[in-house]
Each structure stands twice: as C-alpha cells, then as structure tokens.
Symmetry: C2
Subunit: 594 residues, 2 copies
C-alpha cells in the first residue's frame, strides 16, 4: 500500500504518530513561511503542513491542483482548528513528499459548486466524479443496492441473472437490437425488463426471485429517462396482493431505516380512483395536502338561478370544476397570480385560464369572477374548500374531468413548490392500488392494458369483463414516494381461460394472441403457480433518497438527451469489416450525415 491511513481517519488521538498518506491536491495555500495543502481522497481531506527550509516545502510550492501525492509525516495538533472537517483538529507535518503523478489543470474546479457547465463536466465525467457531492450519490447507490439484496436474501429471494441478449418483446416500447454474426439477418433484442423470464422462473418453481438488472428502452429521451436504466425486479409465487404489499413495504422500511435512519410509518393505501379525484395524479405527492375539492355542483346550481345571458359560460358548461386551497396566500399579488395563470396556460399543461378567490381578513371572498357570482355563492365555495381568512382558492375547469384534474395537479405541485411544502428531506410514502385494468387508446382505437396483458383483474370485478370492461380494476399497485412512482407491479393471471378472455377484450384473435404471447402461454400449460411481483426503478429510488432532481446524478456514466456518452464517444462508427461479418449495410442517406 502507498499509505498507512486514508485522508479521512486521523483525529486528535493520533497526534505524534508517523503516517503515510496518498491522495490528490485539493488546495494549496502559501502563508509566509508555511505552505498548506489539502490532500483529498475518497474518505476525506487532511491538511498537510510544510515548513520553510525543508526540501518538502520547496516541492510543495511547485505543485498544482490535482497532483497525486504520497507524503510521510507526523500528525500534529492544529493551531487553528476546522470544526467543519472530521480531520480538522490535526494536520501532518510533512517530512517527505513523493509526486506519484502530475496533473494538468482540470477544465473545471473540483468543488461541490463547480464552475463547469453540464456538457464540460460530462465530457470529463472522470473528473466530475471526483467532486464529493457526485461521489456521495454513487456511494448511496451502492449502499441502497446492498441493503436491498440483504433484505431480499433474508426473505428467501434468489437473485437469478437473466440474459441480456434476448428476443424482441411485443407490445412494449422500442427495443434496442443486436445483429447476430453467427445467425446472419437475425437480431437479438436487449430486454426492456425481465418480465417474461421472471414469470418463467415462477413456472420453474423458483418461488422468490429478484434481480438488480439493467433494462433498455430505445425511446426519445426526457430529463429523467436514460436508454439504459436499472430495475430491482421481483416476483413471488403462491401469493396474493396483500403478501406482495407487506413484503415490499418491509423492504422500503428496511431501506429508510438502514440508509436514512428514518422509521417509516405503515404505508397508507389510496385507490387509483381517489388519487385521481383528490390529487389528479396516479402518483400523488402526499408531503402536503391541498387536495382537490369538486365545485361543479355549487357553480352549476348558481348558474341555474341566472338568466342565460348572465351566465359565466366557462363554468356553466364545464363538466368538471375543481379547486385547491393555498393556505395564507391571499396576499399573492396581481403579478404572482398572473404568473400562475401563465403557468397553467403553458402548452405542456394546457389550461385555458385560472380563476382565483381570496378570503379577506374581514371574511369576505374576493374573486376574479366576482361579477358572475354573489357573495353567497363565493362563501359556499370558501366553505366547501375549508378556506379560512388569508387563504387563496385556485380553480380550474374543463370539459374533460381527467384532463382538468391533471392540470390542477400541476398547479397544486407548483403551489407546493412555491410554499416550500416539497422538502426533499421529508418523505411521504404510500401504495396506490386498484388501478384500472384498461385504458382507452385513441391512437390504437381499442382498450389497452394499463399495466401489461398478464395482469389479473380483481376477482369481484371479473363479471364486469363481459359488461363494462373499462370499469374493471386490476390487482395492480404502485409504490409512490413524494410524487414519484418508485415501483409498481401486479398479481399475474395464472388461469388459461381468464387469460384468453383478457386477450379477447384487448382485441386479439386467439391466433394473434398465440403469435404474440404464445411462448409464455405455452409455458403456463405445464403447471403455473399463482404469482405476482413488482419492479422498482433503482435510479429513481436513489435520486429520491439523495434529494436529486434528475436520475443522471446517481449514474456513474449517464448518457445525454441524444443518447450519447460524450466521454466515451459512444455511439461511434464501426469498421466495414464488422458490417461485412454481420452482413448488414448502413443506408447511404445516414452515411452522408456522418
């Protein structure tokens, strides 16, 4: 070893010891007859002191940032201690300095607040990773993955590696494909998830399976998506929904305790219908209230009292009118209210306008629609909203209840942000259950499986499959933390007849079903146990624990929005000889783009 101790471990008790340290130059300070160097490694920072007149002093004065050093010296007590630093009570009086490697000046500062822009830091990601704020995210990731494994191992789960070179999956996102040299013209696909394989492992009797596994989706990328991402993938046999919820509530509780030392209370369960009704989202941020109140009955009753020409047409014709109450925000200025109106009118949100009402100090309600409604009506609204003096009521309306709820959800989240109610250090965790089996696809003009076609319906809703399939609820569940869906899954169908009916409702003929899903259906004929499972997005789970906005910061070498790793230069061109071996050609039009 090039060192006897790390840069993070020396304390006052070590004074007078002779030690050898190795690390990087974080900072050099020259102060008269002394030079001080902060030496950094993964474990911390230790101050080195060099006295004028020594050889080491001369060497130290010629070093640059990020040089790699080995020093031998004596631990001494510092004169001016640094309480911010675990090693802040001591320093090293250096006798001997060896430059293990010089360093060019890095293109940005290696500090928590760096002067490097995103692109530059990504190009030199290996330097960006030296910043302790970035490294800590990856340390957290290691620890979370390890604790997940520890918990699941203790619960009898087996981690089974499933293949990366698989077959193309029907009904999913776009696959990445890999041309096969040994089987020209044929392609492997990279798995979007090991869903099929984990169900096969249940058919095999593995009973409890998990895997922390890379998955791949060739989609156009958004800020929180990566072409490759990591799932904690789990499946259990001979279970019902309650067993899964208990098992993985236990896992979350273990993680919160082991990593953050937080005692997570029992997870509340909210039906999908309630989540949509009160939060306008299937992943409600329950760190704060501000739940929706439906106001269409009050407004429609008021409109019914009025003559046609006096009606407020926006509300009079709206299928849905919903409000949220922002506590203490009656002081919002015109400018702030205009900004909120602009916010909901953004194309990504798409509301037509925003109605507000303030509860004034003397108890009257002042609203942007004063001229359409009596104070009585406005008071009823305030009462329905449980609004008190000083509160601000924000109201959206629309013809499509679901769409309007989603708009109101965005407004609610924005108000939560403005009011500081979304503290990343506070956690609110819940299960959203009873998802619908199907959602209507305008694009495909048919019902689509909301989760996937192997998800089982609630037994009590099975009769509805024949009469009103859109109303059927699934044994499907999501774990939601702070408005983020960290995991989700379902109890699968293990009954062949029920599976056939589900395919029928999805619009597949028996032949189409066989062509698309025959492989798994055949396996099920050989004795499939009742089973179910779920998968967590590890990247999101870690980001959440780290309080990050983007999953990118908890991935060592992430890709940018064009799917590029600018550090590695991937993707890149390949040799003609490789194309010849694979018997494929790149089309000319794309070659000219190169």
């Amino acid at each position: 070893m090039y060192r006897t101790v790390t840069c993070g471990e020396l304390r006052l008790a070590d004074v007078a010891k002779t030690v050898t340290l190795a690390g990087w130059v974080q900072r050099i300070r020259k102060m008269g007859g002394m030079t001080f160097i902060d030496l950094r490694d993964r474990y911390g920072i230790t101050q080195l002191a060099f006295n004028q007149g020594t050889e080491a002093f001369e060497q130290a004065n010629n070093l640059g940032r990020e040089y790699v050093l080995q020093v031998v010296g004596k631990v001494i007590e510092r004169q001016s201690k640094n309480p911010q630093l675990p090693t802040g009570e001591i320093e090293i009086e250096v006798n001997q300095l060896t430059i293990l490697n010089p360093a060019l000046t890095p293109p940005f500062t290696i500090e928590d607040e760096s002067d490097g822009g995103d692109d530059l830091r990504m190009k030199y990601r290996y330097l960006d990773l030296r910043r302790s704020c970035v490294r800590k995210n990856l340390e957290l990731r290691h620890k979370m993955a390890f604790e997940v494994r520890r918990y699941l191992d203790e619960q009898g789960f087996l981690e089974v590696e499933t293949p990366v070179l698989v077959n193309s999956t029907p009904e999913g996102a776009r696959d990445f494909v890999v041309p096969s040299r040994m089987n020209p013209g044929m392609f492997y696909a990279l798995p979007q998830s090991p869903q099929t394989l984990k169900q096969l492992l249940m058919v095999s009797g593995f009973d409890r399976y998990f895997q922390i596994v890379k998955c791949f989706r060739d989609e156009d990328l958004r800020a929180d998506r990566q072409p490759e991402f990591t799932q904690i993938d789990c499946e259990m046999s001979f279970v019902e929904q309650e067993d899964i919820l208990q098992m993985f509530e236990g896992m979350s509780r273990h993680l919160f305790k082991a990593i953050l030392n937080i005692d997570l209370p029992a997870l509340p369960r909210m039906t999908w219908a309630d989540a949509m009704k009160y939060y306008g989202s299937d992943k409600p941020d329950t760190r704060f209230g501000m739940t929706f109140v439906e106001l269409q009955d009050i407004f429609h009753a008021a409109e019914a009292q009025k003559a046609e020409e006096e009606r407020f047409s926006v509300f009079a014709n709206a299928a849905y009118i919903g409000g949220i109450c922002a506590k203490g925000c009656a002081t919002y200025t015109r400018k702030q209210l205009d900004a909120l109106t602009e916010f909901v009118r953004r194309p990504q949100i798409g509301a037509k306008g925003l109605v507000y009402a303030r509860v004034e100090e003397e108890g009257t309600v002042k609203s942007s629609v004063d001229k359409f409604y009596t104070q009585d009506v406005l008071q009823s609204i305030a009462k329905a909203m449980q609004a008190e003096k000083g509160d601000l009521i924000l109201i959206l309306s629309g013809d499509d209840a679901m769409r309007t709820r989603k708009q109101l959800s965005e407004l609610r989240l924005e108000m939560g942000r403005q009011l500081g109610l979304r503290d990343p250090k506070k956690f609110s965790c819940l299960w959203v259950i009873d998802f619908p089996m199907y959602e209507w696809s305008d694009e495909e003009n048919r019902l689509m499986a909301m989760h996937h076609p192997f998800t089982s319906p609630k037994p009590e809703d099975i009769p509805l499959l024949d009469t009103n399939p859109a109303a059927v609820r699934a044994n499907a569940y999501d774990m939601v933390i702070n408005g983020v869906e960290v995991g989700g899954g379902s109890i699968r169908i293990h009954d062949a007849k029920l599976q056939e009916k589900i395919f029928e409702i999805l619009g597949f003929t028996p032949e189409q079903a066989q062509a698309k899903f025959g492989f798994l259906m055949n396996a099920f004929k050989y004795g499939a146990p009742p089973h179910g499972g779920l998968a967590y997005g590890l990247d999101r789970f870690v980001s959440l624990f780290a309080g990050l906005d983007s999953i990118r910061d908890c991935i060592a070498f992430p890709k940018n929005n064009q799917g590029k790793d600018v550090m590695l230069g991937a993707p890149g061109p390949v040799d003609q000889i490789q194309l010849d071996e694979l018997q494929i050609d790149i089309r000319k039009q794309s070659q000219t783009q190169l």
Copy 2:
C-alpha cells in the same frame, strides 16, 4: 399466501398441526385404499396421504404429474419413514385439495436423472429448471454472488454500475454492436469488460471499486464459453501487487468458508515460468503432483556416447524431452498404453508419439525404447523421475519446448483423470504470478501484450524493455483452482512515459497509440493514482464450487453453441419498420438464408 408452510419444513415436532401446503405433483402412488402424492416446491418434498372414501382421495386419483395443488391437512407421523428426506418422518393427511393449475405431461421427467436430451431440456428450460440438481446450482450462484458482495462491501469496495451501451474497444475480441436510432450510422458496442471504465473510476478517486457485471464477446463458442458471461470485476488504488493478492486471497477464503465450510490454507504462489516448467500450463491443476521432469540432458548424454547410426533420432534431435511418473501404473496393458499414444496423437494435442518405461517388480526398467538405451541410462531416467517399483514413466519430446510441455500437460491431466486424482470435491488453489509482459504473435508478426497494454512491468525488469522485451515479466497474476483460471489481473501503468515505451514495443506509433487508447491516456494526464485490480469469471467460479463440467449448468438461460436461446427463439427476425428506423439493411445473401 396460498400456504402456511413450505414443502421442506415439517418435522416430527409438527405432528397434529393443521397446515396448508402448495406445490407441484412430483409423484403419485396408489396403494390399495391409500393414495400418496409427493408434493414438491423449491424447499423440498412432502408426502401427502389420501384415504379411500374421502372426496380428496377421488380428486387425487385423477391428478397428473406437475399439477399445481393447494392442500389442507393434518401433519401425522409416517408408518414407514424415509430417512433420505428431511420431511421423511411425517406426512399430511389431506382433508381438502384444490387444483391451482393443471399441467400437460412434461416432455421429460423432472428428476435429477432426467430422460430428456440436452436440446429438449434447453427448449423447455423452464421445466429443466424444476429439477432440483439444476436449481441448486442457481441457489449456489446466488449465495456466492451475495458473499462476494458482503466481503467486498466490508472491505470498503463500492459497487458502481458501468454502462452496457459503450464504445467499441480496440485490441480485444469481437464486439457485439447495437445500431443507434438517434444517431443513424453509428453503433454502440456491448462491453467485453469494464476495464477502461474501472480504470477511469480510479482516476476519479473511487479507491476501491467492484461490480458483478455482464460482459459480452462475439466469438465462436466452445463448450465453456457463452456470448454473455458474468465477471466479478475489481480495482483498487494506491496498491501494489501484494495488496491485491492479499485482498482477494481473503475473498476466496471467505467464499470457501461461507459456502463450502472449507478452511482454505494460504495460497501458494507459483511463477509462470515454474508453472510452465513443471505443469506445462499457466493454470496448473495442483490437486495432484505428477510434475514434469526434464530428461533431455540424460538422453542427449547417452546419445553422445553412440555412433551416429545407432542414435534414436526422435530424442537425439529433440530440444525438449519431458516425463511424468504415474504411480503404480506399471501394470498398464498394451491396450491402455496404445490408447494413451492415440490420446496424445489427437490433432487437438498433436504429439508425434509417446515413449513409456515401466519400473518392474525386480527393479529393472522396461521401456518402449529399450533397443536404443542401456539399462544404465534407463535407470538414470527412473532415478531422475523418482520412479519406484510399479511406476509408469511417460515421456514426450519435441523441437519446441513450449508446445511439447502443453502436450505433456494434456497427458498429465488425462492420467490424473484416469487415476481419480481430479476429485471435484477436493480443491487446490494457487496464484500464478510473474507472467511475461509479451507473447509473440505469428499472426500479427509482433509482440502482443499477454494481459493488456496497460499492464505494468516488474520494476526490476524495466531495463530489459530496451534490451530483451520478450523477457520482461509483468505485475500480472492469475488465481487458479483445480486447473481452472478463475480470476486474473494486473497492476496497471500509471506513468505516462513508461506507457509510451510499452506502446512503442507493441509496435504502435505515438499517433496510433493516441488513436487507439487516447481516451484513457488523456484521462491519465489529470492525475492517475497507482492502481491495479483483477476480474473473476463468476460462471466458472460457480461451476467449480458446484463440481460442474460446463458453465452452462450454472446459468439460468444459457445459449447453445450457435449463440441461440432456443427457448426464447433468440436471435430472431425484426420488422422492416425497425430496420427503417435504424437506417440499416440486411444483405440479400443472408436474407435468403432465413
């Protein structure tokens, strides 16, 4: 849960309890008024007893193999106990039977000794995995991976996930490539190993990294190779070779103890030169001796005494003559000896012939080359070989010492096999160290890096780089168990000047070196610490612990020799729309092959 207990846990102490079990029908036996069913799950087998006259009895008589059942019954003591079975003292008197799923008759028997051939079992791998001998390998794999993580975590290693979609690596095996839709004409490559990325993580100051990670090589497959395989990949900073050897010897010791309850003694270290000299292999099977003795001096001296025409030309002109002594094999028949001669003459081995000598009971040596040598010479041979009465000496010779040693190594392993000296339950573990830096490539007509071009030379051999590079030894090491290289690695070069010299010796101009390895060399300019590491092949490591001949049996869903997963049907065709999106074409000649 569909059960209160598993099929592996009931004992005599549980008698009189009412339990619910779920699992698969392993076997049905009808005996007069009773029917017995062996119910199987991952945890074991429990006998179910059905009494004539009950409803459950009628149901039980109509079940088939592999039906999935749920039963409720009372635990009773068995009349005829089965000591082979952990649950063999009890059975369940079944009151209630529910068929959770029927099953088609499986295409082969779900027994340790199955009647299914390899191809059939691979096509129905999900049924093959029900066989407890196969499942146990995957349980072992889970346990080994978990214990590796536990050990490395305790030693301060961080598991960091590196990307799967990377860039093509120079100087390796053939890459699998993935066309990029977002960057038409460009390709990602799947990593052959995270070598470059783990070295970058050292530049980043991660200090101790590991990852259990999938790697990919598009090579023509042999029995013990798979296109995707799993590495335990490790790297450390501020270390010398001794630190790495200690750390990973510790890991092996932990695994042997935790998994097999074996106290592994300190690992012997053998230089590569000695391994070649005494075993003819850089991965010697040291479970048995039978080490090589070089005999050219004795034979050449004998030849020198003789007239030209009386010489045994085969030995007289051989650059290398080596023998092994097979204890107690003087009784080998002519037929056995002929078979050994045939063995070494096989094209895969390529020896021209085999010379043998027996030490007879009365002490004389009888040899296949009696007519060329006096009894005195033969006695000297026997003495050099430390052969005793009843032993058999087997001798190979050739012009190329290395090639002949490799042939003799194959013969030694075959004799070890015949003599039962290669017990898979016995383990002999060692380090092979001091590998040469370079090996000559006839194909490339230049020296090639034996490990990879970032491997550092032994400091004391650096002067030889200028005078005799082929003699330079590397800081490279392999861990060998029972003749299998389970892991290997090296201390890397962190000095830019030394790296340049190494590239020069490998025949690269500075421009070529920059083009091929510039990416990592540039990173090294920003302060690279001394570092080194190694990687284990997890598949091989598990096979070894499981006593398997092939790595295939410890992989859940392996591919066959054509790189196909016959169960999944991968690789397969892709839609034209996907090719259009990727802007690639399959060549016509390969399309006609489809």
